[in-house]
């Protein structure tokens, strides 16, 4: 790069399309396919009311007699037919998956966002302030690590159940899930951000900003934060997959989304009861959807990790 190669600045989009990241993306079939699948699933979930054939969350629209209809088969009593069959309540599995994915994604995204915001703030604070602040935050992180995510989730659930009035419980369930999963997840964000902050803090551009007189908050947010975001992005992606799985696991242990508004995990919990009895579709389709969703998000995260790691190039 010599001094006179200064042409006109290309547009933001042009530059994005020209970036190494996009190039790496375009040349990686795995990344392309997994991005395609994730986006497809996410869109399907977001626009579930438009895509789905029925609204499975409206109990009064269900006909119990449609229960256990196999895929693409006419129900013996009602004569209805469903592309992926129906579950034990007569819900259309296809529609329920779309609506369930909505809840799973919402819980996952919100939990990761919660963990991210908490972890990034605490990590920045610990890394930048150092000293006692650092010690307290990182000891808290140690304590948090002592409780593996499942335990944390059950604890949060227990407390939430204990302290909220019964009538708010079903609206609460999802928020509690988000809180539970998010709480068990913030540590890794905090650790990574703290580590990266320690590295960035010692760089001279931070010294330059301090020299200008910028207050610590401005330095953390304007200078350090943007520079520690790439690992955060990678962790966030992988955490999203983990959060979706965690939600499913918690549902299995009975602390998940309410059965009248099932998430993917709740659907799998319901479906696994019918694994031996031959109603395979109640488990199979939600499990495949979960697998596709988690796998594509995981693959994206994996790819992103490699692509954003300049040293691996």
């Amino acid at each position: 790069m010599s001094d006179q190669t200064m042409t006109k600045s290309p547009s933001r989009l042009r530059r994005a399309l020209d970036s190494d990241l996009y190039y790496a993306f375009r040349t990686s079939p795995v990344a392309m396919i997994s991005a395609f699948v994730s986006i497809l699933l996410i869109l399907a979930a977001v626009f579930a009311p438009l895509v789905a054939t029925t609204n499975p969350f409206d109990p009064s629209s269900l006909n119990l007699m449609n229960g256990f209809t196999p895929p693409m088969t006419d129900n013996a009593f009602t004569g209805d037919s469903f592309i992926m069959g129906t579950d034990d309540q007569g819900r259309d599995v296809f529609s329920t998956i779309l609506y369930g994915m909505r809840i799973s994604l919402f819980v996952g995204v919100a939990a990761v966002l919660f963990a991210l915001v908490l972890g990034v703030i605490l990590g920045l604070l610990a890394g930048y302030a150092g000293g006692w602040t650092d010690t307290i935050i990182m000891r808290a992180a140690d304590v948090q690590l002592t409780f593996p995510s499942i335990l944390v989730a059950m604890l949060v659930f227990g407390i939430a159940k204990g302290i909220t009035p019964v009538e708010y419980r079903d609206q609460m369930a999802i928020w509690v899930l988000i809180l539970a999963i998010g709480l068990s997840d913030w540590v890794q964000f905090a650790r990574v951000v703290r580590g990266a902050t320690l590295v960035e803090k010692s760089k001279d551009y931070v010294a330059a900003a301090r020299l200008i007189g910028r207050p610590p908050l401005a330095i953390m947010l304007r200078h350090i934060l943007p520079n520690v975001l790439s690992p955060v992005l990678v962790i966030a992606t992988i955490s999203l997959a983990l959060a979706i799985i965690a939600e499913a696991t918690l549902s299995f242990l009975g602390v998940g989304a309410p059965p009248t508004q099932p998430s993917l995990g709740t659907l799998i919990r319901i479906g696994q009861q019918f694994l031996f009895s031959g109603e395979w579709w109640i488990l199979f389709f939600p499990a495949c959807t979960l697998l596709a969703l988690a796998l594509s998000v995981n693959l994206m995260g994996d790819w992103l990790r490699d692509a954003l790691n300049p040293r691996l190039k």
């Binding site: 009064s60 629209s61 309540q89 159940k161 309410p258 009248t260």
Partner: protein, 526 residues
Amino acid sequence: MKTMTGLLAAAALMSTTALVNAETLRWARSGDALTLDPHSQNEGPTHTIRHQMYEPLVIRDVTGAFEPALATEWAPKADDPTVWVFKLREGVKFHGGEDFTAEDVVFSFERAMQPNSDMKELIGSIKEVRAVDDLTVEFVTDGPNPILPSNLTNLFIMDKGWTEANNTVNVQDFEGGEITFATTNANGTGPYVLTSREPDVKTVMTRNEAYWGRDQFPMEVSEIIYTPIQNAATRVAALLSGEVNFLQDMPVQDISRVDQAEGLVVKQAPQNRVIFFGLNMGADDIEADNVEGKNPLADVRVRKAMSMAINRDAIKQVVMRGQSEPAGMISPPFVNGWTAEMDAESTTDVEGAKALMAEAGYGDGFSIRLDCPNDRYINDEAICQAAVGMLGQIGVKVNLNAQPKAQHFPLITDSKTDFYMLGWGVPTYDSEYIFNFLVHGRESDIGTWNGTGFDNDEIDAKIATLKSNTDLDARNADIAAIWRVVQDEQLYIPIHHQVLNWSMAEGVGITVDPEDQPKVKYFTMK
């Protein structure tokens, strides 16, 4: 990878060895007995294990009829209705070789009356137990008690000498965490002898060759290995893979699979348990709805409409896979006071229900929370879910709160729910038991499970007389009258009677017991 396949191959070679001894009953169900102490914990699965090792004076057979056990005859004293006379079986010995005498019966009943005993309420009417001779015992009650034998079917007899020698005369203080010799050891007169026990893991018993009924009953099982398996899928898998050959708590959806499986059968019988919804009709306003200042449930038309909205046949068909009997009253059919007519009173009529709702002023419906257990009754959560949909059709918007029984039941007993699911079994086979708990107005020691807020002094007075009314006809008339009120007031919304499903290997001959109390001495093995 290589090691993995190696292991699998080795496992495959070994797999055939597990199932040799045909006389071993490998028995699984969802939970374990809480203790072995005969007079602690009045709980079904706990009694089930005790029944193999201990015996009461009388038991019920699979039809619900009394069958002599340690007593051979029993009747109230001809001249004094407050005294019951029990003749005891001769020549019975405990596992330790001790002789069974009237002294043991007196001792056991006195033990069962201790404060720590969980059985004391059942024999609360007994004032005195006396041994007339070695083989005759008299029970003196505080008034005439026509149904005393019904309360004795789970009252096990211990050996006085053994109990005293092992310092376990006092009933284990279960809640206080006491462990006594009797908690982990057993010395009964029963058909099986305890060999080893790891709570929640495994209990092993072997046949008592010296059992008094060794020749009277099949007694073909020589060894019992009892394993609790909580996860339903794992439980079924264990049966399908042949690791167990007798399964209680069978998930209904797996019945056909198990039935079709080579060498496995599923047997059914109506269970002594009815499932229903409770409605808080007594409060002026209820918390769990969206109607301010009024209680829609207080209006009998609303209660009737809600009952009419429930399609019990669909629930039976889909949720229960045919394994239930739609109910019209909250009494199992075995119970004195049950009538086929009343049990058929539930109808499904969505249009009629809507009309009733409109008539009651709730044409636009209302919303309410339904509290439901998810680990207590067969498909409890799925039933509630189905009900949510059905009630939705008449405008009652139901928010479902399904949770483990540990959290569910306190809601009922602490009056924190206005609409809830409950199941009820009647060990005494008499309606009085139902009335005492579910119909009588709530007081500190009666009506404790009545979450409806129903409190009618007249009915309460009637219920109180049932205890000592020896005139059986008059008593039955009172029972019928009380039932009529319960039915007309639609105090509860009955759903169905549970059907018990036991599954077993083909060679295991079993008749299903309506109280879900298998007694292995009846089993045959081929």
